[in-house]
Symmetry: D2
């Protein structure tokens, strides 16, 4: 069978793509790029507090949901436009870059104004119309694997982004749906080397959404580093038990500080740069 | 835990919703409503030939993809606007109603002009922005279960449609992704009685996409009838081996004729009306 | 690829195998054979009460676990040898045949003395040593599909039984493990026609273990009948809420009576004999 | 709900169990114990050649199947008793310990004579009668997770071993069945920290069976080390393309040498002892 992806494959482009975000933020081999922040931008205070905390540690990219994809229409849907501004301001105060999800076609323009990296969430991983629109945006896209997508489907979704020449695509393994209930999803760690072998694109992991619990975020992040992932996106919140969403999987500042140091030692031992 | 769906639940609305399409097409208990047609509108001739064949048998609803959701951007993406017109014309010639998928937000207006039932495909089952837009359309929506979604998520997606008062929603079980390779997906027949118990909305099945092969379409359709499904959507093509997509799961005219008769006998024996 | 099963395939034996249990119990096309009883033989009273109830309705085969396969060693493990006798006596009082599980190699002789049909449970579906031992027993074997097994693996397990010439094998689809939490497992209704197409062996369904809840046993059983299954095994208990195991999925006498009548009407309408 | 396992839980035994095999082989934290060898003992030459190769590198434990669990009865079933002797002799020549699977109840005595570690395979992970028999054996048991078992079920199976006081149990994560076809199974790396948190028992990984391909064995093993696994079991064969089973996932001597060095550097950097 012919592969459904070609432009993102090693056959088409043998060398690793390196995705530039800023002079000191490049998703590339031997770099481990960390994105952190709360699940959602709940209000101005929380996102600013988090940004200042992260920047002081040395984290360079701030995540935060603004238009949220929630299973139920009755759940908190995010602050929307106001959230975008809060996120941008908080990042700017600290010299950070921003990552936020684009939930639908009609939001592409608006979100692209405020975000440095445009995230496509797991539920939109096969929203091909949205992907085609994003293919025309200049900014890097962070594409999450659908929780029920094969690696081939994942790369085919990236192919929609690459169709018009777009190359600054970052892939993200965020766990797949299995029968195991102890974790929210099962982090498919094999996807890291397989994607790197099949494709030229960088791949990071999202241990927070995969695990759905805080106690194994550190070992999962260590596993990702050791097997060659180029980064991670991790949830952190000043008061996880009060978070409006995903509090169970958000690290506290104390927990994140400990993780940050731990992975710093690991990356150093492996001669990888923690970005 | 509170249920993430309320407006589509039995708690909110105890009686079955009956979805009106035409005076002689109502999705309701004791009716088994059949939608048939090719996976995609390939050209004018194929869709007209199919429409005439189906109308003569007594089938009242014609399906056909126009803007297609394909895993790879390199696969045939459908005829687009031209396909919509061919579908409409073919149906009008035979007095049939049309069903076609709305692939993205920007297509809502255009497709709504030509289709009598607006289909949301499996990959868009959690495209919440699209669902919210469709909530404002007057025409019935046929919502497919995501192949990766639980029944609770399926009903929550319907809740997005119902959020603004929309009631004419038809649900469709089309198979879930499992480890079994003999079928494309696994038809979750339990979803039929479970959805009917949890929700007031009608539910039909899609044995063609579930099975991904023709030889078990008949037994699956019979199972659906016997356990109370309110209809089925079935792929049929004049020359399945030449179909541009999903030929493996498309019945030939001869096979469909045989199925149509067989289920006619079954519905008659069970005092259900085959629509 | 060569198929891993041959002796149980249509290629080897084109005609349906008919499995004889008694003159009036033959697992064959156009017959729908019902096995019923409690999950486990809890004491003499419960099994006798159930046997008398079932026999009066017309049910001919009594099930009941004696040596039980429980996930935890701390759960009730069954009455063992005493349970076997209770089951046999209860059945004999009512002229019924017995079905019970053989949990391990060392129990083959003992259980074979008391049971008319030797059941292999889902967790032992790939216990190849046990299967090889059972291949030498004269009595019919009821082989359940492993909840983690593909249809090809299921038929390969049957192949171990058939390896030495054994032909009286009854297959049982009992649900596979998926991500859907509303049911204990997902009844793979497609397995019925697929097994009948691939193999010459009869196949029945176990809606009780698949669903893990009582409210959809009837629609699942009706689906099985309509798509050609040759029987069903259903849990029934005088007082389900007091059952030592699987009470949630056991029908009460009243519920079973209603199911029995309902499927009697369906089989009659379809000219199938309810056995 | 009460947990179905207790004796193997942290609640019962807070400290890590350390499993002794020899003075220089202890499954414990800060040790990474490697078991290697061919899928099956094909003949005397292959197993001796492999043993000499491994021993020279410094590997201390030799694996090799003798009575094999094969999906089809028509596949090679192993050399049986002869294989046990070959394995023992090869190991003895090189001062190695042996690991082989016990396929059924009737083989417990025989295999226990020749093997230093008694393996229970994935398909027997819920063969409770076999587990109960093994609970009475003095030698360490290596219990593989069923490819369709939850972690709770996995620990409950270990509970059957622990029921009579047995403590020298080594757990093995070997991949679970998911929808992803690029790997044979999906290595559930989260199981490593979760099992270590829930239970006091050591856990190793089997990247060979999980991946079903050689090209990602190294990154998976590195991931396991970094997240705290206490060992790995890896397939190696002098001529993988000629192997009677699982050749696709067996490393050649050259590949294994490279892996051995690579993980030696990693364990050294992390101050873990490679055993």
């Amino acid at each position: 069978m012919n592969k459904p992806y070609h432009l993102v494959s090693r056959d088409y482009h043998a060398l690793d793509e390196e995705v530039y975000v800023a002079d000191d933020i490049i998703f590339a081999r031997r770099n481990f790029c960390v994105i952190a922040g709360p699940c959602t931008v709940e209000d101005r205070v929380v996102i600013e507090e988090t940004a200042h905390f992260l920047a002081e540690l040395g984290v360079k990219m701030l995540r935060g949901g603004t238009f949220k994809a929630r299973t139920s229409p009755h759940s908190f849907q995010g602050l929307g436009a106001k959230g975008l501004k809060y996120l941008r301001n908080a990042a700017d105060q600290c010299g950070m870059k921003t990552v936020t999800e684009i939930l639908g076609e009609q939001l592409v323009e608006q979100v692209s104004e405020y975000a440095d990296i445009l995230q496509v969430g797991s539920r939109n991983s096969q929203n091909f119309r949205l992907l085609s629109l994003l293919a025309k945006q200049a900014k890097p896209v962070l594409l999450k694997r659908g929780f029920m997508n094969t690696i081939a489907e994942f790369l085919s979704a990236a192919e929609y982004l690459a169709a018009d020449g777009k190359r600054n695509i970052i892939l993200c393994e965020r766990g797949i749906r299995t029968f195991e209930p102890m974790t929210r999803n099962t982090l498919d760690i094999s996807a890291v080397p397989l994607v790197q072998s099949e494709s030229c694109l960088p791949i990071i992991v999202d241990p927070s959404h995969a695990a759905g619990r805080t106690d194994i975020i550190l070992p999962l992040t260590r596993a990702a580093i050791a097997c060659g992932a180029q980064g991670a996106i991790i949830e952190v919140h000043p008061q996880p038990h009060k978070a409006l969403c995903d509090g169970k999987q958000s690290l506290s500042f104390k927990q994140f500080t400990s993780l940050w140091k731990n992975i710093g030692q690991l990356t150093q031992a492996l001669e990888i740069e923690r970005v």
